[in-house]
Symmetry: C2
Subunit: 194 residues, 2 copies
DNA sequence: GGGTGCATGTAATGGGTTACATGATTCT
DNA sequence: AGAATCATGTAACCCATTACATGCACCC
């Protein structure tokens, strides 16, 4: 009974935290802020995950906690990776990506679009279009920033992730425009239907 | 004390169930199977959601249950939409799409790709590529099927949802190939890094 | 005086998957 | 003989968001 038990710390969230801490020592608050400026467009964590997560990681010896006293403000709890934590991160990075079941509410609503006026589907698609147009602007801005301080060895990786966002949003915009046209045509040709 | 309370039945799952039942009366088992042949590529539900979900919907008067006795096999519980259920579905369809926080594990791993050999990232991207190539084949097959019996008024909507899948997978394939090239270049030019 | 930012955390609640439990029939 | 399909459902567990609770400092 002890195959490779090692009841330690699973969960993608923990590993995301390790990854973020690999960029430097940080508090939970810092982590949230860093997410916003870096991986926010493809990953998110709430405080309700971050604080308990850090605690668990500390208990497992994967991160180390140091308390910085401050005047006025509450103490800062700054966490940093331990050697074990860095190893754990690498191991996890090597594991195959676990894909989760798809859930796309826009498509679900569009699929059943026959039950409602076409204008409803139009609106959903339009909003989707606008979101992705906005996203494209954001990506462009981030890419610009990245190329500015394009020194680090990690930058190419950051650009690759950005690029998937861009490809995806480009495709989404294209699809949305086509779909709006199709909806308009449906509207015109709606001959003998109730 | 009674603004617009109406504590009834929220949750996207319930509404997905209503949508599926709008295609005809069905049992929980049938629903699972239907998902596989229709919206499976952008939506999924497990039995653990379906059976309790149907029960709640029945309690709320949105669906009606009829039991079909069978020999040998367990009874079939066939559910069908009530008028109230159909109304509820339409209302929900009109509501704006609620987008959920993004979580893309592939990008997360790629983002931190600097910590591991490039071959690791290569493998992740390759698997992603293959998944989407496979998906494209599936989409093509479904589209063919759909155009075969292209009578119903709903078919255009089915094709629109399919089309987003196609656009998305096309983009993903394109990105994956580009990214593999970049990874190879990184590998070649890895001059003065530890 | 009021909003925003700094900074921590917990509790309630919701949503979901997976594994378990059961068992006959039909196909290979 | 064994696998797949039909058919239902529950229980344990995990993961995650949101709301709550607290409170000072700084800027307008």
């Amino acid at each position: 009974m002890s195959r490779k038990a090692k009841r330690t710390e699973g969960g993608t969230t923990s590993n995301a935290l390790l990854g973020l801490l690999s960029m430097g020592p940080m508090s939970g608050y810092d982590i949230r802020a860093l997410i916003g400026r870096s991986i926010g467009y493809f990953w998110s964590e709430s405080y309700g995950q971050i604080y308990p997560g850090l605690k668990r990681l500390a208990a497992a010896g994967l991160v180390e906690k140091k308390t910085e006293r401050q005047k006025g403000r509450p103490d800062r709890h700054v966490y940093s990776l331990t050697a074990a934590g860095r190893m754990r991160l690498k191991e996890w990075l090597k594991l195959p990506v676990t894909s989760e079941p798809p859930r796309n509410e826009l498509l679900l609503k569009l699929f059943f679009g026959g039950h409602v006026p076409h204008s409803v589907s139009r609106e959903h698609v339009t909003e989707f279009l606008e979101e992705h147009e906005q996203a494209l602007k954001t990506y462009a801005a981030i890419a610009k920033d990245l190329r500015k301080d394009a020194d680090g060895a990690e930058v190419p990786f950051y650009l690759m992730t950005l690029s998937l966002g861009k490809h995806g949003s480009d495709a989404s915009v294209k699809w949305a425009r086509e779909t709006l046209k199709k909806l308009d045509e449906l509207e015109k040709h709606k001959g003998g239907r109730r």
